[in-house]
């Protein structure tokens, strides 16, 4: 009697468990993410930086392109950071308020990072999903193209494009986005190959759904996890690329600025003892990258099924 009783109890317990609300993949991931302290701190840093970049302008006492001639040129060392003058971060070599410029630089760097990553994600995911889904000769051709494009020295080609089509933020967006979808396409293709043999895709084929619709409605949503992880790791890469180009003076043009351009200006002035011109943009650059890397790592740990 006893053993059967235990089994019956077990069944009752199991029935209870089944009634408990099941946790979805995303809820599970959210719980795991918030358990990761480094990732949570990084997320708060990131939110703070975004608030700084998009609303910091309201705090600035000066316009970002207003020149204070008493503080410019060789007098730049007078523009020390101070609350009394309202130049919280001091002034740059031209006597412009560095706080307002850092706000704008951070904003443009974030925008380039996010928009660039968005282009890469949309193009890369669709390309990879189509290539993986159709397979065969189409797949071979599409992936060979990616291989060929990958062996192009992209930094040089990006500079070539900026020179030829003019140095503008738009060109920068397009150029960076065009280059960076290649990795995304590979990742999406690999994932599609495992998804396309699942039963729900078979069911969709069986009821006569057209291929493009299967890709958009059934395959792409299932790529979401890996796409999210990869794009948070892609954004800092984009920011570095943009800053690299702007550091060379080929990216964002005056009077607009970005963190790379600010770092470049600060680095060229630092021998005059105006270290704050380098320190503030550098601080925001490093904090932003750190935050993105840790959030990305946290997301990967949270969403990667291998790690359960």
């Amino acid at each position: 009697m006893f053993p059967e009783r235990a089994v019956a109890d077990g069944l009752v317990d199991a029935a209870h468990l089944a009634e408990v609300q099941g946790r979805s993949l995303w809820k599970d991931a959210r719980i795991r993410f918030f358990r990761n302290k480094a990732a949570v701190v990084a997320l708060f840093c990131l939110i703070a930086i975004c608030i700084f970049a998009f609303f910091g302008g309201y705090l600035a006492q000066y316009e970002r392109d207003a020149i204070d001639f008493t503080l410019s040129g060789p007098n730049a060392y007078k523009g020390v950071p101070s609350f009394a003058t309202g130049h919280y971060f001091g002034t740059d070599a031209d006597g412009r308020d560095l706080f307002a410029r850092t706000v704008q630089g951070t904003r443009i760097s974030l925008l380039v990072g996010i928009v660039g990553a968005l282009i890469a994600v949309v193009v890369g995911t669709l390309y990879g999903a189509v290539s993986g889904y159709f397979g065969g000769r189409t797949d071979g051709l599409m992936m060979r193209t990616v291989d060929i494009l990958m062996s192009v020295p992209y930094m040089f080609v990006l500079i070539l494009m900026l020179v030829i089509f003019g140095k503008s933020i738009l060109m920068l967006f397009v150029g960076i986005g065009l280059i960076s979808w290649l990795d995304m396409a590979r990742i999406a293709r690999g994932q599609t190959l495992t998804i396309k043999n699942k039963e729900f895709v078979e069911a969709a084929i069986a009821i006569g759904v057209r291929p493009m619709r299967i890709i958009l409605r059934h395959i792409v949503p299932n790529l979401a996890g890996i796409v999210v992880v990869y794009s948070t790791l892609l954004i800092p890469g984009m920011i570095i690329t943009e800053s690299f180009i702007s550091f060379l003076g080929l990216g964002v043009q005056e009077p607009n600025t970005s963190l790379g351009a600010l770092i470049s200006r600060g680095a060229s002035q630092m021998q005059y003892g105006v270290i704050w011109q380098l320190a503030f943009p550098l601080f925001f650059f490093i904090i932003t990258l750190f935050a993105f890397f840790f959030v990305g790592d946290g997301l990967r740990d949270a969403l990667d099924p291998k790690d359960r």
Partner: protein, 307 residues
């Protein structure tokens, strides 16, 4: 094996050709010719100049001539801005400089990166491990254009130990800062990859067997663990080596070393298309060749890979 090399070459050659044609097409898409200036030249002078550089011929012929010259004689034609030198002069002047500090950076990055990675793996979860992980995370957010100003600030402006720029025929004081600035992030990546692959290998069965036999630890690492653990690093080293010897553009510009990166950026500002194209193609060819070399090495080292 030979058929694998042959097949890879069969892909590499068209890739290089496509690169040449694409950069040539980009150049034609550019608004304005290289000799359009604020003071318009008289039509006859313009025609003479264009004839001198072969710009009066139809596009397809120019492209054909260019491609043939590049492929058969490795001749990238004349510079459009400096009347007295060719693109080859620019490359032969700048490339040795970049090659010098690029190779040093490679050696430094590989030696220190591997050492750091191996130490971190065999002293897993010790302070050394945390140090290695910390360095590799830190170096990720310190790309070379951030490293370079910080290094100059500390070692040139504050300590006054090393010159903050110039090349001076490659004297050692002038080489150190570019090498450090260039190699740090690569070193960190190598250390990270080496650490994780070493950790994986050290947990494998054959290492346990080696331990059980009573082999000393250094022998286990050198004779048994190193070779399989090196494989993931190797696939990273190919592209890294190319991007190092072609020199980071930033290092050339920031330290005024006179490497090809500096010529590249100067030409980008003066719209000297032939120099830009020449350097882009050179870098592309090097990238493709080294990827090929790495793939072949990979197939040679890892018997599991069959192509």
């Amino acid at each position: 094996m030979y058929s694998f090399v042959f097949r890879r070459l069969a892909v590499a050659v068209p890739t290089i050709l496509i690169l040449i044609v694409l950069s040539f097409m980009l150049m034609f898409a550019a608004p304005g010719g290289p000799f359009n200036s604020d003071r318009p030249l008289s039509p006859t002078v313009m025609a003479n100049i264009e004839a001198r550089y072969g710009l009066d011929q139809p596009y397809w012929k120019q492209m054909w001539n260019y491609t043939v010259n590049v492929v058969t004689r490795f001749d990238f034609g004349p510079s459009f801005q400096y009347r007295d030198r060719t693109v080859n002069d620019v490359i032969s002047q700048g490339f040795p400089v970049t090659l010098t500090y690029g190779s040093w950076s490679f050696v430094v990055a590989v030696v220190f990166g591997l050492a750091l990675g191996i130490m971190a793996a065999i002293r897993h979860n010790s302070w050394l491990d945390y140090l290695a992980v910390g360095i590799s995370i830190g170096a990720q957010v310190l790309p070379n254009f951030v490293m370079a100003p910080i290094l100059v600030l500390v070692f040139t402006l504050w300590l006054g130990w090393l010159p903050g720029g110039g090349w001076n025929g490659g004297q050692w004081e002038y080489v150190i800062l570019p090498v450090v600035a260039l190699s740090t992030s690569y070193m960190a990546s190598i250390a990270r990859i080496m650490r994780s692959s070493m950790l994986e290998v050290m947990n494998a069965g054959f290492i346990r067997t080696a331990r059980a036999k009573g082999l000393p630890i250094h022998r286990i690492i050198l004779r048994h663990a190193l070779k399989p653990a090196l494989l993931p690093v190797l696939s990273y080293l190919g592209p890294a080596f190319v991007s190092m010897i072609t020199g980071s553009v930033i290092i050339d510009v920031y330290f005024s070393t006179g490497g090809i990166g500096q010529f590249f950026v100067n030409s980008a500002f003066s719209r000297d298309y032939s120099v830009i194209m020449g350097i882009t193609i050179l870098v592309g060819v090097l990238t493709i060749l080294f990827n090929l070399v790495v793939d072949v090495l990979y197939a040679w080292i890892d018997p599991k890979i069959r192509y």
